[in-house]
């Protein structure tokens, strides 16, 4: 006789009113990838978009040790003139200055990124988008502006499972990547690109004038959030770069070059010392490394899918 299946309550099981009430009160405890987090918020315009974007996150219940207690709240500044700002707080402290009013959603998401990047050195953290197909993982390490998040959002809506658009989490000594499916922040022109590319994608509100320009978050596909405990082994390391009008090229590069680019795109490579070196070395040794230049999202997604499906010549 099989064990009874206990359904996991998710954020979307709460009504928007209940979610908002909990956020403003004791907080909502959610599992975000491998992290258990309590979130409190009293910020105008945040609760409803967050309810929709976090719809598939598991809710936690019962007493437990949490990885972080984060909070976003509106505060008033009286000097030099009265105005509302947004404050991010982690474990009772504000790690940076207050941000402009109306940006609570990106401030919360960036704040969670900050907490992860600064604290969880049990992982080698690569600055990379990660997706899975056929049980194997694709890493897309890139500098800001190279089209990483856009390409990641596109792949996540064409048969790839989203792990993260920002963090490649590797347990030291393994090539196992740990999912951290989060809303993907599209910037500026990429917002309409993804709207056209994947009309079924759910986007949060368009938020102008952030420090990264205009932002809209794409919700992680439900399958990615539901399967957030399923790791995958790294198989491909692709360094993408969007270039206007460029023809598609996917060129295999030496592993030494792949290593150099990977290490310089890591959050905590040097902090982990020899363990970071060994983990990155084994990752590169076990993967094929490529450089991707693209301008057309459709052909880039098709080419990477061919690669994953074994039609790469």
């Amino acid at each position: 006789m099989s064990a009874p299946v206990i359904p996991i309550a998710r954020v979307g099981d709460l009504s928007p009113r209940e979610f908002r009430s909990r956020l403003a009160g004791a907080g909502v405890e959610v599992r975000i990838g491998p992290f258990d987090v309590r979130v409190r918020a009293r910020a105008r315009g945040l609760a409803m978009p967050l309810h929709a974007l976090w719809r598939d996150y598991p809710l936690l219940s019962g007493a437990r040790v949490l990885h972080a207690h984060v909070e976003v709240r509106d505060v008033w500044r009286l000097w030099p003139w009265p105005r509302r700002k947004v404050r991010f707080i982690v474990d009772g402290r504000a790690p940076h200055e207050d941000m402009p009013a109306g940006q609570a959603l990106p401030v919360l998401e960036w704040g969670i990124n900050l907490v992860i990047a600064l604290r969880y050195h049990c992982f080698l953290m690569l600055h990379a988008a990660v997706l899975e197909r056929g049980g194997r993982a694709l890493l897309l390490p890139a500098w800001p502006g190279h089209g990483k998040t856009t390409l990641c959002a596109a792949l996540a809506h064409r048969g790839w499972r989203l792990f993260s658009d920002e963090f490649g989490l590797l347990r030291p000594g393994t090539r196992e990547l740990v999912p951290l499916p989060r809303p993907m922040p599209l910037k500026n022109a990429s917002i309409d690109v993804i709207r056209r590319f994947a009309p079924e994608a759910f986007l949060g509100p368009v938020i102008p004038k952030t420090r990264k320009g205009t932002i809209a978050h794409v919700r992680a596909p439900a399958d990615s959030a539901v399967r957030a405990r399923e790791t995958a082994t790294a198989a491909w390391l692709v360094f993408p770069r969007w270039e206007e009008g460029a023809p598609l090229t996917l060129e295999e590069i030496p592993k030494s070059e792949g290593y150099m680019q990977l290490a310089t795109n890591a959050f905590n490579y040097e902090m982990l010392g020899e363990a970071g070196f060994a983990t990155a070395r084994d990752l590169v040794a076990g993967t094929r490394c490529f450089r991707l230049v693209y301008s057309d999202l459709e052909t880039a997604v098709a080419r990477l899918t061919e690669l994953a499906d074994g039609h790469d010549g």
Partner: protein
């Protein structure tokens, strides 16, 4: 690639330098003995040009803290 445990730094080195570190400097060596080891491996003569190259490389490795002068 080379990871230097004392400094925690990663260095990207070419094949000749890797050979020099692995084979030519496995034990205390002089410019002359390192040049001989490289020359034998390459099948060339240990001439002045090779010695000068080895000497420059050793100075750079010393600057990086990867080798020490006795």
């Amino acid at each position: 690639m080379l990871y230097h445990c004392p400094s925690g730094k990663t260095h990207f080195i070419n094949a000749s330098t890797a050979f020099l570190l692995e084979q030519g400097l496995g034990q205390p060596a002089t410019v002359e003995s390192a040049a001989q080891a490289v020359a034998e491996a390459r099948g060339v003569a240990a001439d002045d040009e090779l010695r000068a190259d080895i000497s420059d490389t050793l100075l750079r490795l010393e600057e990086l803290g990867l080798i020490e002068r006795a």
